[in-house]
Amino acid sequence: MTYDEYLDGKPVVVTAALTGGIQGKEAHPDLPETPDEIAAAAAAVEAAGAAVVHLHARRDNGERAFSTERFQAVTDAVRDATDDVIVQHSTGGTAAPDALRAEPLRTDPAPEMASLDMGPMNRGRRLTSENTRDTIDGLHAEMRERGIKPELEVFNNGHLNESFRILDDLADPPYLNLIFGPGTLAPPSPANLQRMVDQLPERAEFNVIGFGPHQLPLTTQSLLLGGHVRVGLEDNSYLRKGELATNEALVERTVRIAEELGRPVASPAEARDLLGVESRR
């Protein structure tokens, strides 16, 4: 989690966020939504070097779905199509009731990892993802019961405080995902990323997300700071200005940059060791 770790050639875990829960094919014609489409994207990013796939589920018409049944269809298809990639389910869900938010944790087998939103995030004029401490603690308890590694979603600097609140309840290493973008998210800048990394506990591992045009520069900075990287169409639709991306192309570019910088790309098995993830393969 330091520049020294970069110099030592610490492996980098690449996560691919394939779908998300915000936009659909109205925004990107090739955004994977169905289980088969998500599975094909998962196989492609695994071949390109991703160790983790971050999954959301959708209805047949592309609208958001949170049910265990829908997540089961996605996770089954992904596990069938991939060799060893780590399966991470989202528990995020703007405006969705808490009861639904836990459903993605209840697939069989359980996901190896799951996202845990650490506080509120606004969207538009009236939509908000509340993520009260009660919600966080409930989801976290269920993850612990099921042996699921939580990835703490840090939408802004205040969510570092919220993460520190549960630090003693986390198995080593705590894994924090620092998210930079518009609105409630942390303002995207290299200085802001450095400041947040400086505040992390010694035993933590961190990952970086940059929304849209901030994906490439801030994930590259994470490589230099000994951190890990998430890319994919959930966070960014474009490879470069005016050119729509694919999940595979975004992972390929990250792998190329990491290798040029001297960070070997972690295999799924290496990622499990680095992050303390229990295998369900």
């Binding site: 829960g21 915000i22 936009q23 659909g24 094919k25 109205e26 925004a27 014609p29 959708r58 047949d60 018409n61 592309g62 609208e63 958001r64 703007t94 405006a95 969705a96 009731p97 969207r123 538009g124 004029r125 009236r126 939509l127």
Partner: protein, 64 residues
């Protein structure tokens, strides 16, 4: 119930989809999945209270 401006279409004249998707007849655009929960009144969401497009079309200010 659902927003009166909500329609489900498999094409907007330019794009074609296998399954009909939420389409807003005010903006003449397909709706983001996260916004479709407002259009369909899921999770206690309500177009009259929560949708910028509905409220603008109805001439409602946010403080009303």
């Amino acid at each position: 119930m659902a927003c009166p401006h909500l329609d489900y279409r498999d094409s907007d004249g330019e794009r074609q989809f296998d399954t009909a998707r939420a389409f807003c007849t005010v903006t003449e655009e397909f709706v983001q999945p996260v916004h479709a929960d407002i259009c369909t009144e899921r999770y206690g969401l309500d177009p009259e209270a929560d949708c910028e497009v509905y409220r603008a079309e109805a001439g409602l200010d946010w403080d009303e």
